[in-house]
Point group: D2
Chain length 139, copies 4
């Protein structure tokens, strides 16, 4: 891994488990979102302020590949990196690990829309943040 | 029960269970909210339109008493009734049942706020809906 | 659409919205799961009983393509169909619609595992249910 | 506050907001649960292991009083303390704060049940942990 990959820690909550005794699969999208917004904040992109300026970044595509189960109380690392970016769409990659064991990989793609739901170019704030990451890492 | 009690059906979702093998206790507040908004819609109070007019109805108090566990796939009845209302606060009561067995009771209280988070009198729409319910039922 | 596609209705819950004013994207996986388990129950596969027999069906792959936003209180149709099945893996397709407008498509793949997390052949109950669906529909 | 109060930090997730632009009220119960289980782990009570021994601690009563709204991305402190304990029931208190501003207070009560759902005395592990807290603090 290089410095182009950011990591956050997630502790699997009891409320996130299901009766299979593992973290429910929908939670991975929530953890990925947290990794993405936490790191974008660190890069100077405050999503809360961005929204207040009228821009929203809905997810248009998401996929998760689950390789091993995550249990209650497990401390997970959620890795995040920039995949591919165009003027109107940016894709991110994620890996969920436990003690360096790979539990899942995921990708999400986002676009920018204005309050009338019209697609916009990605805000400069986002683009500059991406330029600052010259060499995206792929697992 | 009288006609002053409204009922909705809820099927316990797999994602709502936890590893104890039962519906996680936080979901009851979500089911109560659905019973409340479904019934208010039937009474002519469309919460979505209310919000668009600038009024929001945050919950200021909630309590749940859990008497029996709810399992995955169970078909629940969530009963809803108006408890107490003043010019600025309205309280609702709820009962969660399965095949007429009482699983939980709950109460929530709501106030009205404007976009600046200042407390308002409850909207006429809400008050009229409450007046239409002359004899609130209490379990 | 043919009889091989099953549909359930989902009302977008307030708790499922996020501050973008739309249903949070992770909920689609939960709705798809509900469509799948509701319909499998109708086909005679009770997932609750299946689990009690020791078999679990974790999701190993999930993807969602979001085409339009879903708002609070919207009544959605979640369509479900069998995609591809082998002895050890079964894939399902989903479409989320509102008034016949396509909001999202999704796929999930499931495997069967025993209590020791060892991969098993898909249970006969599942296989027979799939055989009963001779001509899977794809959007 | 004294050393009898434990604190965890919670960052409000985007998925936890609703279209009112604040954290949905049901999430507070999940945060309280995380505060409780995190601290019990620190006191030597591993809830995961407790469950594996056959004991479960369902919540039988929960109440939350919401005093101010919590926004997306806010860093919250969730304080946790032991309220009242008997041989069969233990109550916990919670406060949710932001920069020392009180956003909410809550209480939950738990009992112990065995795999047949029969009520048990609270496990020694729990009782010893409570004895170690001689002077419960109440807000």
């Amino acid at each position: 891994m290089t410095q182009n990959v950011s990591t956050i820690e997630i502790r699997v909550r009891y409320a996130e488990t299901d009766q299979m005794g593992v973290a429910h699969h929908a939670n991975y999208l929530i953890w990925c979102e947290q990794a993405r917004t936490d790191h974008m904040r660190a890069l100077g992109v405050n999503y809360r302020e961005l929204e207040q300026s009228g821009i929203r970044l809905p997810v248009v595509d998401a996929s998760v590949r689950y390789r091993a189960l995550a249990y209650y109380d497990a401390l997970l690392d959620v890795l995040w990196w920039v995949g591919r970016a165009s003027s109107r769409l940016v894709s991110f990659g994620y890996a969920v690990e436990r003690n360096s064991d790979l539990l899942a990989t995921a990708t999400t793609s986002l676009i920018a829309i204005d309050p009338n739901r019209a697609v916009q170019h990605l805000p400069d704030q986002i683009r500059e943040c991406l330029i600052a990451i010259p060499d995206p890492v792929r697992l």
